[in-house]
C-alpha cells in the first residue's frame, strides 16, 4: 500500500532532472570539436615519430600549442559528459555513482595533465 500519488512517484525519476543542460554542453563541445579535431589531427599527427627537439620546437609555436591545448581540454569535457550518459544507460545504483565519479575525476585529471604538459613545452 502506497501513500504516494502517481505524480509524486514520477517526479525526479528517469531523465526528468537536468537533461537540457547536459544536452547543451554536448552540443557546444561537439561543435567546437568539429573545428578543433581536423586542426589537431593535421598538426599533432605529423609530429608523431619526430625527434624530441623538433616536437619541443613545434609545440613552442602559438598555433599548434593552442590547438593542442583546446583539443585536449574540450575533448575530455566532451568525453566526461558522453561517458556519463553511457554509464547512466548501462550501470545502476551505487556502481553507477562510483563509475560516474571515476569518469569525471579521470577526465579532469587527464585534461589537467595534458594542459600542464603543453604549457611546459610552450612556455
Amino acid at each position: 500500500m502506497s501513500y504516494l500519488t502517481d505524480r509524486k512517484r514520477a517526479t525526479g525519476m528517469g531523465s526528468a532532472k537536468t537533461g537540457t543542460e547536459h544536452f547543451w554542453l554536448m552540443k557546444v563541445s561537439s561543435v567546437a570539436l568539429l573545428l578543433l579535431i581536423p586542426l589537431f589531427v593535421f598538426t599533432f599527427g605529423p609530429m608523431l615519430g619526430e625527434t624530441h627537439e623538433n616536437v619541443l620546437a613545434y609545440f613552442a609555436r602559438p598555433f599548434p600549442a593552442i590547438v593542442a591545448a583546446l583539443t585536449i581540454g574540450v575533448t575530455f569535457m566532451h568525453f566526461k559528459n558522453g561517458a556519463q550518459t553511457m554509464i547512466e544507460d548501462y550501470v545502476h545504483g551505487t556502481s553507477q555513482k562510483v563509475a560516474i565519479i571515476f569518469v569525471i575525476c579521470l577526465s579532469y585529471a587527464a585534461a589537467a595533465t595534458g594542459l600542464f604538459a603543453i604549457a611546459r613545452i610552450a612556455l
Binding site: 599533432f44 587527464a110 595533465t113 604538459a117 613545452i121
Partner: protein, 127 residues
C-alpha cells in the same frame, strides 16, 4: 518505485529479436567509438607529458605510439575519430528536426560509414 505493482504487463519488444539495421548499428557504433577513444586520448596525453618531461621519457612514449602496435591503435583511433565526428554532424542535423525519416537517416548512415573510411585513408596519406 518498488512499491508499485507493475502487474504482468507485456514488455516492449526486446533488442535481441530485431534484425540488425543500419540505423541501430550506426547509432551503437557512435557510442562505442566515442568511448573507446579514451584509450588513444590517454596515450596522446602520455605522449605530451613525456615530451615535457625528458628525452628518455619521450623516446619511450613515442617508441610505443610508432611501434606496429601503436600504429594499429592510432589507425583504428583515426577511423573511430572520423566516424564519431561524422556521426556527430548527423546528430547536429537531427537536432534541428531534419532528416529523421528512415530513407534520409539511412542515406546519412552510409555517408557516415563511407565518409569515415575515405577520411581515414586521406589522413594516413597526409600524416
Amino acid at each position: 518505485m518498488a512499491d508499485v505493482n507493475r502487474g504482468n504487463r507485456p514488455l516492449s519488444p526486446h533488442l535481441t529479436i530485431y534484425r540488425p539495421q543500419l540505423t541501430s548499428m550506426t547509432s551503437i557504433l557512435t557510442r562505442i567509438t566515442g568511448n573507446a577513444m579514451l584509450i588513444s586520448a590517454l596515450l596522446i596525453v602520455w605522449w605530451f607529458l613525456a615530451a615535457a618531461t625528458s628525452p628518455e621519457a619521450y623516446a619511450l612514449a613515442d617508441g610505443f605510439l610508432t611501434s606496429w602496435f601503436g600504429d594499429l591503435v592510432m589507425t583504428f583511433s583515426v577511423l573511430g575519430l572520423w566516424y564519431h565526428t561524422l556521426a556527430g554532424v548527423r546528430h547536429l542535423i537531427w537536432d534541428n528536426g531534419i532528416g529523421l525519416d528512415i530513407p534520409t537517416a539511412e542515406k546519412m548512415g552510409w555517408a557516415v560509414v563511407i565518409g569515415s573510411v575515405v577520411l581515414t585513408v586521406i589522413t594516413i596519406i597526409l600524416v
